[in-house]
């Protein structure tokens, strides 16, 4: 389906120093008194047919980042290159074309489907919006896609509320697939699903990727899910990437204190009662009042000296160019 790419490097999406700030307005004249730096200088690349994971807790900016890429939220500055073309500079008709090549799977299987449309209409609407297509052909495409995601084509006339959470997520995936996109942004695709359904959906996503040579930007907060699904992972905290590496390297050689804290905090089945190490104290600081220096310093056990004054840049680790780290201590 999408095996070729315009860019010489095989890189489908390239994000450079993306910043999305939300102005805080106060007073009668609604003057801007400051900014919420939801995304504060993020850069990464996604290779063709690869899965790039973005991990972080609430408020880290991963959802804002995903929406900025699709220009659902206006980015403040930076550059996004998709398939060789500049996304942020695109005019409305180019943007429309991009929106047929990048699609999104949403987190909430209940809120992401219009309750008053049949699922045939829901899945088929992207096709209707972008192409002139006969009803018969549309129905055929819809039925085809529904079978691909494991739903019976008989369900075309039924409504979302007649399906379970896992099935609705499949409908959302079908909708994302129907335009044969090059890139799919998966925004927490399994977080709202039951445990026994999560594995079904994760397997499905992998199978679809293989069959259609899809590229995924996979956003999640569950590190175990990310480990299974992704090739490269970036960890975000308060709008910045603090660590990034190929998945095996990140999990075997965790360097950033926040990443280590995330890993330690995940409840694990294997070891039953375990004394906790590295549980970070405190909460994520408010974006309205970020700490000076490294954003993690209030909660970091290693914080000292430059951590309180300067933000560490994201740099490759010595000897491992693929592993990037933003920390003064390593």
């Amino acid at each position: 389906m999408n095996t070729d790419t315009a860019d010489k490097n095989g890189c489908l999406l390239k994000v450079e120093d993306l910043k999305t700030y939300f102005p805080i307005r106060k007073g009668l004249l609604r003057r801007s008194v400051g900014y919420i730096k939801a995304v504060d200088g993020v850069s990464f690349k996604i290779e063709n047919a690869a899965t790039f994971g973005l991990v972080g807790e609430s408020g880290c900016g991963k959802t804002t980042l995903a929406r900025s890429i699709l220009r659902l939220i206006p980015a403040t500055s930076g550059r996004i290159t998709f398939d060789g073309a500049d996304l942020l500079a695109a005019d409305p008709s180019q943007l429309r074309r991009f929106r047929s090549e990048i699609s999104m799977i949403f987190q909430d299987p209940f809120g992401s489907l219009n309750p008053r449309m049949t699922i045939g209409d829901i899945v088929g609407e992207p096709l209707k919006v972008h192409r002139r297509i006969s009803t018969a052909e549309l129905t055929e495409r819809v039925c085809q896609i529904l079978s691909k995601v494991g739903l019976s084509p008989d369900s075309v006339n039924r409504y979302p509320h007649e399906f379970s959470g896992g099935q609705r997520q499949r409908i959302g995936i079908a909708r994302a697939l129907i335009l044969q996109p090059k890139l799919i942004i998966c925004d927490e695709p399994v977080s709202a699903l039951d445990v026994s359904i999560q594995s079904q959906i994760l397997n499905l996503l992998k199978d679809l990727q293989q069959e259609f040579s899809l590229t995924y930007l996979f956003i999640a907060h569950n590190l175990a899910v990310v480990q299974f699904s992704c090739d490269n992972v970036a960890v975000m905290y308060m709008g910045r990437i603090v660590e990034q590496a190929p998945v095996a390297e990140l999990y075997n050689n965790t360097l950033h204190p926040y990443t280590a804290a995330l890993m330690a905090a995940i409840p694990k089945i294997q070891t039953s009662k375990q004394t906790r190490k590295h549980t970070p104290t405190g909460e994520v600081p408010s974006l309205l009042n970020p700490p000076l220096g490294c954003p993690f310093n209030p909660r970091c056990t290693f914080a000292a000296g430059p951590c309180f004054t300067d933000i560490p840049p994201l740099k490759p680790v010595l000897g491992k160019p693929e592993h990037l780290l933003a920390c003064w201590h390593r």
């Binding site: 445990v195 907060h221 299974f228 995940i266 089945i269 549980t279 909460e283």
Partner: protein, 336 residues
């Protein structure tokens, strides 16, 4: 309450909802017991009936359309289902307390945090207003909220999710209840905050000699924090065991399937194990064993398809409801 004496004993609890579309049997014939000072986890996926079970314990099931149709709940020697509403109110918040999943909707947005804790205190304890406020501030300190003297006058919307959950915990343990029911207390929280809240609960448990009934869908939390576990599926208990044994050797195919399919750190396979099919809807439960359509053994077995296995004690305090679990057929002991 002697150490490891039984604090709460639930026998054959059934709660049904009478709706226009039919009778929803949300909880059927559920039996388990919680020992004092220990943590009992009720684990299952959405719709299995675990939250309804908790609400039934507190007799908070909304009357139309829900009703506890049978069973016995013995708490501190008394049958809760036989108590008058007045007596029940004296127990709620006082001897049994509950915290919920969504702290934003469980706290009243128009009252300060301090007000709400004080209200909880004064409902059950004879304290003057000023002493109640002092106690409230002390509770905030106990739940590790920084700067409690100032935070006590804040409103819920001024606090983060983790803080609000701590406030809920403060309200719940202010009267030093014997049993704390936690309904998915950390599901809405970030993973790092989750760990803090669970640590806090463990600390409070030790300090107050409190039992905890933990309701969750996260097997990892159960493995790390619970002493005893009951796995629920489609309104019934599938398996009951102490935590270690359950994870070392799960007996019920559903438990086995769950444990195999949860994505875990360190998994290196190309595909995850799954349980095929979907969770059945309460109005359309399958005949026989409710799990049989998804069970590798039961989908082909006549007995599993027609006769529902009851929960039976099998060995060493374990119970399971499966025809093919080891020790099941020999046992005729109905677990209480």
């Amino acid at each position: 309450m002697s150490d490891n004496g039984t604090l709460l004993s639930v026998e054959n609890l059934s709660t049904h909802f009478f709706t226009q579309q039919g009778v929803v049997r949300a909880v059927q014939d559920v039996s388990f017991s919680v020992k004092s000072g220990r943590t009992f986890a009720l684990v299952g996926e959405s719709g299995c009936g675990k939250s309804v079970t908790a609400l039934s314990l507190m007799r908070l099931v909304p009357y139309p359309p829900g009703k506890i149709v049978s069973g016995k709940i013995t708490f501190e020697g008394r049958n809760l289902l036989g108590l008058s509403e007045r007596r029940m109110r004296a127990i709620r918040g006082n001897r049994i307390a509950m915290i919920f999943q969504e702290p934003m909707t469980s706290l009243n947005p128009v009252f300060t945090v301090g007000n709400q804790i004080v209200e909880a205190i004064r409902l059950h304890q004879h304290k003057s207003r000023s002493r109640a406020w002092d106690l409230a501030e002390q509770m905030l300190h106990e739940v590790r909220i920084p700067d409690p003297a100032h935070r006590i006058s804040e409103y819920p919307h001024q606090m983060s999710g983790g803080m609000r959950q701590r406030v809920m915990i403060a309200m719940a343990v202010s009267c030093k209840p014997a049993l704390l029911i936690c309904d998915e207390p950390t599901t809405a929280l970030d993973v790092t905050i989750q760990a803090q809240i669970l640590d806090l609960l463990a600390e409070l448990q030790k300090q107050n000699q409190m039992s905890i009934l933990l309701i969750t869908h996260d097997l990892g939390i159960v493995a790390e924090r619970a002493d005893d576990v009951a796995v629920m599926y489609a309104s019934k208990i599938a398996e009951l065991a102490d935590c270690r044994s359950l994870f070392l050797q799960p007996l019920h195919p559903y438990t086995q399937g769950l444990l195999k399919s949860v994505p875990q750190l360190g998994f290196t396979g190309k595909r995850l194990n799954t349980i095929s099919g979907i969770v059945p809807e309460p109005l359309h439960f399958p005949s026989g064993c409710k799990f049989h359509p998804r069970c590798p053994i039961g989908c082909n077995d006549k007995r599993c398809q027609t006769i529902e296995p009851e929960l039976r004690r099998v060995k060493d305090g374990r119970a399971v409801a499966c025809w093919y679990a080891p020790g099941y057929e020999r046992s005729d002991d109905i677990k209480v």
